[in-house]
């Protein structure tokens, strides 16, 4: 490991510069993953394609023909990457946003409940952490339950929450957002408790010498200290609340949202549709987390805490 870092600057290979950073290796790994994807797509789709040939009684099919056919099936076991990309292109750019077949429409629905749940969860988490940091009883009684609340597989009861709330008349965005809230409040609570406790004793003592009240100490010392922790846990919370929103959409009878697309795809064997919804969800998660990362950078820079 140390050898590599020593040798790379001296090398005259033009690729060495590229490969010693992270960009080069990441590109290589992504390409390898794509290659594996294509190969396994061919391998997994071949039996079905051979069956087709047999029924059409075509015996002498060249290998190149077989490969192109396996990569262009209607309902492949594993769709090739380009099929998924084409499907995404078709359902995002070439469809109207208001159309029920538009992936943008479904993504928007998932996004809205994710964001609502995330906001609620972050608020709840911050409030809980403030209570826990300032009250000994809350710390002792609530904190263990906050932790054990996550061992309850809430995702498992997500369908029930939705169905039950629907029966009472609460439907639409809120039930899904509640599941996202439940999933996203935990990382924020734990992170913020840690963050609000991170000022050193010496700093707290300084606030005492200023005769600062607890509220002043909170706004002027504890909260600024907790901001980096807040952003880190918000990233985790955002990813968790997207998962919550997607699972929350499963039982709504496959109406709308990325989760509904997944479920509909699995009912009708539309693998390309499943994969496109999956990639879209991945893209959504990545961009949301990146967005928080950008916000983090800006905020920390303005607060003079940028590393």
């Amino acid at each position: 490991m140390t050898d590599a870092t020593h040798s790379s600057p001296r090398s005259i290979n033009p690729f060495a510069g590229l490969m010693s950073g992270t960009v080069g290796p990441v590109i290589v790994v992504v390409l390898v993953i794509l290659a594996i994807w294509y190969i396994s797509a061919v391998a997994l789709n071949t039996p079905f394609q051979k069956g087709l040939y047999e029924r059409a009684s075509r015996t002498d099919v060249p290998v190149s023909q077989l490969i192109t056919d396996t990569l262009a099936q209607e309902r492949p076991v594993l769709p090739a990457p380009h099929q998924v990309i084409v499907e995404i292109w078709k359902t995002t750019v070439q469809k109207k946003i208001t159309s029920k077949r538009s992936l943008v429409f479904h993504t928007g629905i998932t996004l809205s409940s994710t964001l609502l749940g995330f906001l609620l969860g972050t608020t709840l988490g911050i409030l809980l952490s403030i209570g826990i940091v300032h009250s000994r009883v809350l710390d002792k009684s609530l904190m263990p339950w906050v932790i054990s609340s996550q061992t309850i597989p809430i995702l498992a009861i997500a369908p029930m929450i939705i169905v039950v709330l629907n029966a009472v008349g609460i439907s639409g965005l809120l039930p899904k957002a509640m599941i996202s809230t439940y999933l996203s409040f935990f990382p924020v609570t734990v992170g913020m408790v840690k963050g609000l406790r991170s000022p050193e004793v010496i700093h707290m003592d300084l606030m005492h010498t200023y005769s600062a009240s607890r509220i002043q100490a909170f706004w002027k010392l504890r909260l600024p200290y907790a901001v980096p922790y807040l952003f880190t846990s918000m990233k985790i919370g955002m990813a968790a609340s997207l998962v919550g929103a997607i699972v929350g959409e499963l039982p709504t009878g496959a109406v709308a949202g990325l989760g509904a697309r997944l479920l509909a795809g699995s009912y009708y064997g539309q693998t390309v549709q499943i994969w496109s919804a999956l990639l879209m969800a991945a893209f959504l998660a990545g961009s949301l987390v990146a967005l928080i990362g950008v916000l983090e950078k800006i905020t920390l820079k303005r607060m003079g805490m940028a590393r």
Partner: protein, 381 residues
Amino acid sequence: MTTVAASKRGFDIPALLAWFIVAMVMVGLFMPIFSPDIGVMDVPRLSICLVILAIAGVRYELGFMRNWIGDLILGLVTAIAAWLLISTVSDHAGEAALGFWALMAATWAASWLFVERLAIWKSSSPLAARLINLAIPTLFGFTLLVLWQLIVVGAGVPKVLLPAPSEIWIRLTTSVPILWADFQQTFLKAVLAGYFIGCGSAFVVAILVDRVPFLRRGLLPIGNLVSALPIIGVAPIMVMWFGFDWPSKAAVVIIMTFFPMLVNTVSGLAASDAMQRDLMRTYASSYWQTLFKLRLPMAMPFIFNALKINSTLALIGAIVAEFFGTPIVGMGFRISTEVGRLNVDMVWAEIAVAALAGSLFYGVVAMLERAVTFWHPSMRT
């Protein structure tokens, strides 16, 4: 610091709570307890409850017996009051009126006061301190259960919406064979198999990745990205590939547990500092000796962190994967079908089993961690 802050705050919560108890008791005395105009004096058990709560509140307010005996009596009074309330409300389901809610609030405040007093107990022995630290969250949980029971029965919440804990308990005890079969299918087969294969393979890959710096630089950013993705979405694909039985669920669990384990193990293997590695080199130790004697032990806190995260992820993955297709047994299957039949108490029983299994799983991993990383600063208490 805490004492200064407490005195500066100007009000103390215990006194406020005691006043609240007295006020609520007064409300309970003069307002109807159950809806068709039943006063507290018509229900002897509730009058007892009211009297003991009033005595407890006034006693604290007057500063009488503010020591551990008084606190224990307060706890006893709270428990009796809660039991009296629960046993009375079952005869008047759905008829609770203002007075009843006031008594419930008084009981709740009494239990809070008890916990508040418990939290400032000074204990001499570490064992007693640990017991108190265990008792406080347990009491909190019990309080929540009692409140749940009282509110659901008292307000007559429809069973479809939220069953009372007692109903869930009855369902849990009467349908043990079904729950056990589901538990076997989901937990013992899918979760455990997936968890061990996923974590094990990620561990091996992590050591491989650590040996090849190129892979580390290329795989780690992708691993970090993937851990933020909603991996649970692969569940329908896995069900399509591996069929309805447990292997497809185990596959989902493998994928879900793989990346957290990979990322954590790799960063754990980098946790030893250059000084320690140099020391190993002066001992002329080989790569494997350094790995086993220095770097793996140093990585253990990280690895156990991943194992703990994965213990809850695995259960979630297996249950959600069952929503996409399953044989007629399994926790996820039971939850989705019983929701359809509006047998909500069965669903809650299943959730209780899942929560218990998840907590135990987590607890076992945490105990293993305690045994393996006893040297770590966070374990020295």
